[in-house]
Symmetry: C2
Subunit: 236 residues, 2 copies
């Protein structure tokens, strides 16, 4: 018995949505990914077998529609799936307010840049090809260097040097850039503390992270220290 045996619509909704990974797949679909491997990038650590299973389940439940066009497969949310957007956004807002503590295990340069790629504010960048190199000061070789290549309104992410001239180079610790992108930490503060830096034509790229953009929920107001204290496990 995997159901709850309740008619309550919260229970009926959660029978589907409380399965591990499911809502993260929905989140990635809402963010615009349609391809299997794009979804994988957006939901790292999820095995392909499980992703496949979840997509099938969501399709059977009518939240996702799969369309095959030649060798090209796309998954898109149906109307009922799209209606989960306010819920996912509310969860993001809640999470950003109340689960602020990030462990080292929560940090992931691949995922951060996969998300950053979507928030680059191309309008603020030069119309000619612009390349921002990113370097994480505290990440092991292999995931420490990245390049955002912006051209014709498209942004590509490379984990290898694409060879073009670099407009500016942003250096930062992984945790600092993650915090800045999530909101709640300012790039100015990261610069001051020495956790971040920018070289090259900073103005051209909107002074680094400002031009890279922020998460959609970055602007959600954080609880005050007083509110946080009230919500804490409580000495009672």
């Amino acid at each position: 018995m995997s159901g709850y045996g309740q008619f309550c619509p919260v229970a009926k909704a959660m029978e589907l949505l409380d399965e591990r990974w499911t809502l993260l797949v929905v989140r990635e679909l809402l963010a615009g990914s349609t391809r299997f491997n794009d979804l994988r990038r957006g939901v790292p650590h999820m095995s392909p077998a499980l992703l496949s299973k979840r997509l099938q389940r969501l399709e059977r439940a009518g939240l996702v529609r799969k369309s095959v066009d030649g060798s090209h497969t796309a998954y898109r949310l149906s109307p009922s799936g799209v209606e989960l957007r306010p819920i996912v956004e509310a969860l993001a807002g809640w999470g950003v307010r109340w689960i602020g503590d990030l462990g080292q295990a929560d940090l992931d340069p691949h995922l951060l840049l996969w998300d950053v790629r979507r928030t680059v504010d191309v309008e603020r960048w030069p119309r000619s090809r612009t390349v921002v190199a990113l370097r994480f000061s505290d990440v092991e070789t292999g995931a420490a260097r990245w390049w955002l290549v912006c051209h014709d309104g498209e942004t590509d992410l490379c984990d290898f040097d694409p060879g073009f001239e670099v407009t500016a180079t942003v250096t930062s610790s992984l945790v600092a850039l993650t915090r800045v992108w999530r909101g709640g930490r300012s790039w100015a503060g990261a610069l001051r503390s020495g956790e971040g830096g920018i070289d090259g034509d900073a103005d051209a790229v909107g002074r680094g992270p400002a031009g890279i953009g922020q998460a959609g929920w970055a602007g959600v107001p954080r609880p005050s220290e007083r509110e946080l204290a009230l919500a804490r496990p409580a000495a009672d």
Copy 2:
């Protein structure tokens, strides 16, 4: 590893909230239950061991505060827990729109009346003691007869005859009253089809289900047939 290894706040939120039963416990707390056994009534089929475990987890996460006063224990949501209300309500709205099909296993007279008890519109009832007897025509003995006793603005639920004079008697199939209470089915329709009936002083009790009230999300607009068709597994 039970986490998702992601900094995404949706992932961080779901690490806590996608555990089985958790959000239903939150729902019941939001509805106003504070006592362990009241929570159990609101979340039937959940073992007490698991309820205890979830409450502890929620307390450690700062969403719930436990207060002990003599032999009286109360669980209340903290500010961060209360902030889940819009999410739970949105889930209820989503569920009621898109997961309309109720199986026989989802029906439960105990839970229905536990919920109904909260929505009785005492203002509409006489100031003197009012007793509504409910009888499910299709439920096995033991859970087929119920009494709502309303007095001094309080509503009590009995599964035995309290002995007072009955103001009115509502008869219905379990599925019909569940649908009416959830919204999406009208009591008038249930009466017409013969699935429901009311005897006695119907006017005094707001003509039955109208006075008994409806779920908070009963008014959520349901998708049209056309929308439903679009969201269905799709013949593509």
